[in-house]
Amino acid sequence: MTSIIDDSRPIFVQIAQRIEEDIIAGSLLEETQVPSTNQFASLYQINPATAAKGVNLLVDQGILYKKRGIGMFVAEGARQRLVENRKEQFYEQYVVAMIQEANKLGITAEQLADMIRRGDA
């Protein structure tokens, strides 16, 4: 079975995140239609109710909206809002974890800054 879905979190959260990724990466543009619940279900081999729950999570957040009788669309301004959210999470998820690991290995702040500059080049 598809290993794209992992066991650590509810599937609907993972589906919502996947759609968010596609919006941030620009493969799902604003005002375009997202795949239907049933398409998500057969693509990931998951229960359609679960796929619907993931889509509805984004509807509740105003990232997607429903056009009656047609389907779900990406809302205007969705990408900008997702990027802002992500930036807030970035510090928590990456920076804090990186500093913890650096401390463990005895890497100084200066060395860490050097590495970041090197990685950025």
Binding site: M1, T2, I5, D6, D7, S8, R9, P10, I11, F12, T37, N38, A41, S42, Y44, Q45, I46, N47, P48, A49, T50, K53
Partner: protein
């Protein structure tokens, strides 16, 4: 809403042995249920009672609001694909499909024949000449094409290869999306079906020990590995469903109150963490020797 199946205090005893004891649950219409548990746990007995092939010793049983026994109105809405289903030896596959077509109101003959091609079955071969896997495929095709409002698959894939099983899951999801109905899947291959299930019921020693939305179960248990002291400190106040010590190291699976903060706390304690699949969770819950009551999350 009218429930598809409602049982309360359902019990089946054989002499002194209770195959099913005091089981109560309801199944809502148009959901996919997983009925899971070890061999001899009582899953098949429960399905036999739901489909009126066995009398309960005691307890209440309603299918689509009515007692199923000798009730044509109810039984015509049920399709039960049994493990190791037997067919008349001299029937060809096409004969079996003809008979099945006469039994089910919603039968889709065109769909059945398209599945025969996909499962690569020899339509004109007699049933006694079919391999075990082919027989299982015939059952799966009947179960899917019947589109019965209540369809039960009891370990439907004896001898079925991985390709055919995957085909079954794909077609099941697609057809269910188009034609929602109540589906009960009983299987040991939990990892393969866990994503398809909306709801999970675990039977152990004749008792219902877990009855939960499957999404609720994801991420609810966590396996941690690290120094015994750190593991003990992390596990305090949680239910430990597995513990194994090697030297100063300890591996433990805990359940209850697991969220991102807790995972971060575990890592801060220097523990390694891994997610627990539904299959692993059920193995932990059903392999103990002790009598376990209902599981609390």
């Amino acid at each position: 809403m009218q429930s598809a199946v409602a049982v309360s205090n359902l019990t089946k005893t054989y002499g002194k042995v209770a195959a099913v004891s005091e089981v109560s649950f309801t199944m809502e219409p148009n959901k996919i249920y997983g009925l899971l548990g070890r061999n001899g746990a009582g899953k098949t007995t429960i399905m036999h009672m739901i489909t009126a092939q066995l009398f309960p010793t005691s307890g209440e049983l309603r299918v689509f609001g009515e007692a199923p026994y000798e009730n044509a109105n109810v039984l015509s809405q049920i399709c039960f694909i049994k493990e190791g289903q037997k067919y008349p030896d001299l029937f060809r596959i096409s004969d079996v499909l003809d008979v099945a077509g006469g039994c089910f109101k919603n039968w889709d003959n065109e769909y059945a024949y398209s599945l025969v091609e996909e499962f690569r079955l020899p339509l004109k071969r007699r049933m006694k000449k079919l391999s075990r896997g082919m027989l299982s495929s015939v059952g799966i095709i009947i179960g899917l094409a019947s589109r019965a409002p209540l369809t039960l698959f009891d370990e439907p894939y004896l001898g079925l290869d991985a390709v055919a099983r995957s085909l079954f899951y794909n077609r099941l999801i697609e057809d269910y999306a188009e034609h929602p109905r109540t589906i009960v899947l009983s299987t040991h291959l939990i990892d393969e079906v866990s994503q398809l299930l909306e709801h999970v019921m675990v039977i152990d020693k004749g008792r219902l020990i877990l009855n939960e939305e499957s999404e609720m179960l994801r991420g609810r248990a966590l396996t941690v590995i690290g120094s015994a002291a750190a593991v003990e400190s992390f596990a305090a106040g949680k239910e430990m469903i597995e513990r194994e010590a090697f030297g100063s190291l300890m591996k433990s699976t805990v359940m209850g109150g697991i969220d991102e903060d807790e995972i971060r706390r575990a890592r801060a304690l220097g523990l390694e963490t891994t997610a627990v699949s539904l299959q692993q969770l059920i193995v932990h819950l059903t392999n103990g020797n002790s009598e376990r009551g209902a599981v609390r999350l």
